[in-house]
């Protein structure tokens, strides 16, 4: 073994080490830079299916949508202490309340610790009051049973007002 060969081996090993880390980061790219890669993968999977009439229209967003409703993609707090907060709607249920484990924690004396829940069902987002003291309002109606939330209609929880947006 000449010195030169050994140096080459040394550098090659360091390169392999770095490639390993880069490969590992590549695997979790979806986590680090949003889920575009995953969404693309899902789109690719759904391509072989017969195209649906609505999907033939050109769309700016590539996220899969339900056939009847253009699904909202984010939840925006428009009023209250947390105004300006945006939560991406991913299909995971969103809980709102003062409890620490709520998805959207509101520090508001008029909100209950587990106030309301917004969840997806059949491509719609449904708001459900979880037995709050002061009630949840969808537009001007009090939410007494689970109700679908159309995009742009304000949902009032204590002093906080949220909206679903596309």
């Amino acid at each position: 073994m000449t010195e030169f060969t050994l140096t080459l081996i040394k550098l090659a090993f360091l390169a392999v080490l770095w490639l390993f880390v880069i490969a590992a980061v590549g695997v979790i790219r979806a986590d680090l830079f949003g889920s575009k890669a995953a969404a693309r993968a899902a789109n690719r999977e759904s391509k072989p299916r017969p195209p649906k009439p609505r999907q033939q229209q050109p769309k700016p967003q590539r996220q899969p949508r339900s056939a009847q409703h253009a699904a909202p993609t984010k939840l925006v707090v428009v009023q209250g202490e947390r105004a300006g907060t945006v939560i991406d709607l991913t299909g995971v249920p969103i809980t709102i309340g003062r409890a620490n484990d709520a998805t959207l924690v509101v520090t508001d004396d008029y909100a209950s610790s587990r106030h309301a829940r917004i969840y997806a069902q059949d491509g719609q987002w449904i708001v459900e009051d979880l037995g709050s003291t002061n009630g949840t309002y969808l537009g001007r109606t009090k939410v007494s049973q689970p109700m679908p939330v159309p995009p742009g209609v304000p949902v009032r929880i204590g002093k906080t007002v949220i909206e679903l947006r596309k």
Binding site: K10, F13, F20, A23, A24, S66, D122, G123
Partner: protein, 529 residues
């Protein structure tokens, strides 16, 4: 129309990533095997025989672990297993390299009938412990079930531990106390942290860290609301009530007391950090971090004033200025350091009297100070310096000159042979494991599992920080194992169990939500009125 399950899968990367995991695992294997090959080529000029034994052994083990992971936790995080295998493999290669019994020169000398010193690096032993560690990983993954099926017979889930919170906390403290018990405890290199189990010596403190995470998580999950909401406000900081914080402080003081008696400062620091971080995760209050760091500063300051805590003082002194302690230095009560290295007259005097450890006796009996030796730390730093940016190449440096170069100082040994470039990779690998653990905590649905995963990943991060910071003289040196790299069975076993728990929890968190049985719209409510 797409079902909600599809939508969730489209938005979140919650797919099975087993092929990615397999590819990375093969990459980790290539890494390990090329490390062995490089050691052999540089040291003996040929591919070593150890490649087939060690590399082959690790390959078989890793693929067994992969098979179990795909079969039983198909949605598990794809990175945890390959990253842990890569670290374990690099550690194994480095220990093989430091175990001079395996080199050709050594074998020739032995065959010639020369008498050789036995060195403590033990590659076959480490391979055996890797076997046990990965075995425990497999058993743990097999044994634990998904948390949403708690009623299945014999089901153990990560959540089962929540039922035995206090018992587990108590076990943790007992584990810490075991090394003090006469008869089974033993002292190696000045720290009393080992116990005898037949022919083996086990470091129970390594397992205590997992048990304490469970205890803190189980306790805080019940009390966190009370702790973060109710309490006295002192200035900008709100303190929780004594009855909420009491039990946790008691356990914590017990641990720290035990550790100070054992002079195991590294573990004490680790538990302290764990305590603060878990309080922070549970209550989401930044004030805890400040209180914690403040308490630590006060604690260290008090420790330097107490006479029986002289070794703390000395550690800090060595950290600030290691040079006078090289090969033996004596810290006097007035803060001055008198060298008692082999070149000094006083050392020679005691040496002439036939003293087995002249430096120590000279310092303690003649000068009346506290003896310490910074040679290990400084040799480690020299070896980092020797490595530079690109390193000397595996098998081409002289890392064995540092005492304990295969356990506490393995990071410096790797630094000499892989250079800064290689060390960055190791640190990034740790960072990725921790990131995956934190991601699991974020994705977990159950608050106990959130705390559990968060605590487990934090403890790993802090352990790496304490030991790597120690050997690079960023912070005072305290003995801890470098996870997966250091030679030692307890550490490998505990860390593989840690990875198994994370794998199981990540599977639980990442698998798609169960599909509704009926897919025909909202539940139909039949009025009974």
């Amino acid at each position: 129309m797409q079902s909600i399950g599809d939508q969730i899968r489209a938005h979140l990367p919650y797919q099975r990533r087993n092929s990615a995991s397999l590819a990375l695992l093969i990459f980790a294997m290539v890494l390990t095997l090329s490390a062995f090959a490089e050691v052999g080529l540089a040291r003996d000029g040929k591919i070593p025989g150890g490649l087939f034994v060690y590399g082959g052994g690790l390959v078989v083990l890793a693929f067994a672990a992969f098979f179990v992971q795909t079969k039983f936790t198909p949605y598990a995080d794809p990175l945890l297993l390959p990253l842990a295998v890569a670290l374990n493999g690099i550690g194994l290669a480095m220990i093989y390299r430091l175990d001079l019994d395996t080199s050709k020169d050594h074998k020739i000398a032995e065959a010639a009938g020369k008498k050789l010193l036995k060195d403590a690096a033990d590659a076959p032993g480490q391979l055996m412990w890797t076997f046990v560690g990965i075995g425990l990983f497999v058993i743990a993954v097999l044994l634990m079930r998904d948390t949403d099926k708690p009623d299945a017979p014999l089901s153990v889930t990560p959540k089962t531990a929540q039922r035995y919170t206090y018992l587990i906390g108590l076990t943790g403290v007992i584990f810490l106390l075991l090394p003090i018990v006469p008869g089974i405890g033993m002292e190696i290199n000045g720290a009393r942290v080992w116990i005898h189990l037949g022919p083996l010596s086990v470091q129970p403190g390594e397992f205590t860290k997992l048990l304490l995470v469970v205890f803190f998580a189980g306790y805080l999950v019940n009390k966190r609301q009370a702790m973060s909401l109710i309490g006295k406000k002192v200035g900008p900081i709100s303190l929780p009530r004594a009855r909420d914080l009491g039990p946790i402080v008691v356990i914590w003081f017990l641990c720290l007391g035990v550790l100070f008696m054992q002079k195991d400062l590294g573990t004490a620091l680790l538990f302290f950090g764990l305590f603060v971080s878990m309080l922070y995760i549970a209550t989401q209050r930044v004030s805890w971090v400040f209180i914690g760091v403040g308490l630590l500063a006060v604690g260290v300051f008090i420790a330097t004033l107490l006479p029986f805590m002289g070794h703390v003082n000395q550690r800090i002194d060595i950290w600030q200025n290691p040079k006078p302690y090289f090969d033996g230095g004596c810290l006097m009560d007035d803060g001055k350091v008198i060298p008692v290295n082999p070149d000094t007259a006083i050392y020679k005097k005691f040496k002439a009297q036939g003293d087995p450890s002249p430096g120590f006796s000279a310092c303690v009996s003649e000068l009346g100070g506290e003896y310490s030796d910074s040679a290990q730390l400084m040799k480690g730093l020299f070896s980092l310096g020797q490595g530079g940016v690109l390193g000397t190449g595996l098998g081409q440096g002289e890392p064995w000159r540092t005492p304990l170069s295969f356990s506490d100082f393995i990071f410096d040994s790797l630094g000499e042979e892989l250079g800064l470039t290689g060390l960055m990779v190791l640190l990034l690998t740790y960072a990725l494991i921790v990131q995956r653990g934190m991601k699991t905590a974020v994705a977990a649905r159950d608050p106990f599992l959130k705390l559990f995963a968060g605590g487990v990943s934090f403890v790993l991060a802090l352990q790496v920080f304490v030991i790597v910071g120690g050997v690079t003289r960023l912070i005072p040196l305290t003995g801890l194992t470098t996870p997966f790299l250091s030679q030692g069975g307890s550490s490998l076993m505990a860390n593989w169990i840690l990875i198994a728990i994370l794998v199981r929890m990540s599977h639980d968190a990442r698998k798609p939500a169960p599909q509704a049985i009926q897919d025909e719209g909202m539940t139909q409510i039949v009025s009974t009125r």
